[in-house]
Amino acid sequence: MPDNWGFVAAAYAVTAGILAGYWRMLVRKERALTGLRSGTEAATGAGVRNDDTSRSRQPSRPGHPRPEPGKRTSLP
């Protein structure tokens, strides 16, 4: 039977791709959360409301706890 190394490569590449994608998702969420924390510190320091840039870095998928938009007040 022919060796089909192309398929072997494809399988391992797909695996690496899926794992890398998941890893990137985790890193992106971590970065958004640390960004949010430092953004809060800067905001309270400057007395500015939560600006759009920090909110846009929120994870777009519904994360674990997710307050309803109406209930959103300034972060502690």
Partner: protein, 215 residues
């Protein structure tokens, strides 16, 4: 702890690749395409291990209501789904040259597909409920139903159609696999388990940070 796991996983993956490509011989009947098995088979074992952890954590959460346990359940079920996805994808890529088709509705593929969809629904539920505490409770119940359903899915699908090779690892009596292939599978299983554990730990950490940020 997470970083240590990460590095161990890295070592494990390297060991697994060495075993899979260096040590393990060219398979007699299938040729080298069989090497896909070294990621395909351990992936499903890791997935089911993850779902078992998810089941235990879900039950524990309903009993004790510790938020850390809920994060563990969530992370475990999510990582399990990812590894099941890897299993399905690599299985299809293996199936094309060996069976001539990307997909077939045989027992194993079908039952894995059903379990995959069940846990996708779990992740969907997690995303759909805004109240954190309610989401944790509901997801725990669904996690328990889904995990307990896995053997039912397996038997029903297996009886419904049996074309797949009989699982050689769980056959009573001596395993029909040459020992070096078995070893390679087990090394890759250990590697992927470490990798899975690393991802679970990291995902749980992100969940904790999310909770803290939106508290």
């Amino acid at each position: 702890m997470t970083t240590v796991l990460g590095w161990l996983a890295g070592v494990g993956v390297v060991a697994g690749l060495v075993m899979g490509f260096g040590v393990a011989p060219r398979e007699v009947t299938q040729g080298n395409v069989q090497r896909i098995m070294y990621v395909h088979v351990p992936a499903v074992w890791v997935a089911y291990l993850a779902f078992a952890v998810g089941l235990t954590a879900s039950i524990a959460y309903l009993a004790r209501r510790r938020p850390g346990t809920d994060r563990l359940a969530h992370a475990a079920c999510e990582v399990g789904t990812v590894f099941l996805g890897i299993n399905i994808a690599t299985g299809a890529i293996w199936g094309k040259p060996t069976w001539g088709t990307w997909w077939t509705w045989d027992a194993r593929l079908t039952s894995v597909a059903v379990v995959f969809v069940m846990f996708l629904a779990y992740l969907l539920l997690r995303g759909a409920i805004e109240d954190h505490e309610r989401g944790a409770r509901y997801a725990a119940v669904l996690g328990i139903v889904a995990a307990l359903n896995i053997p039912l899915v397996h038997f029903s699908v297996y009886w419904w159609r049996t074309l797949h090779q009989p699982p050689s690892l769980l056959k009573p009596g001596a395993s029909t696999m040459p020992p070096v292939i078995l070893t390679a599978l087990l090394v890759n299983f250990a590697a992927l388990t470490l990798l899975g554990a690393y991802f679970v730990a990291r995902r749980a950490r992100v969940l904790a940070a999310e909770e803290e940020a939106l508290a």
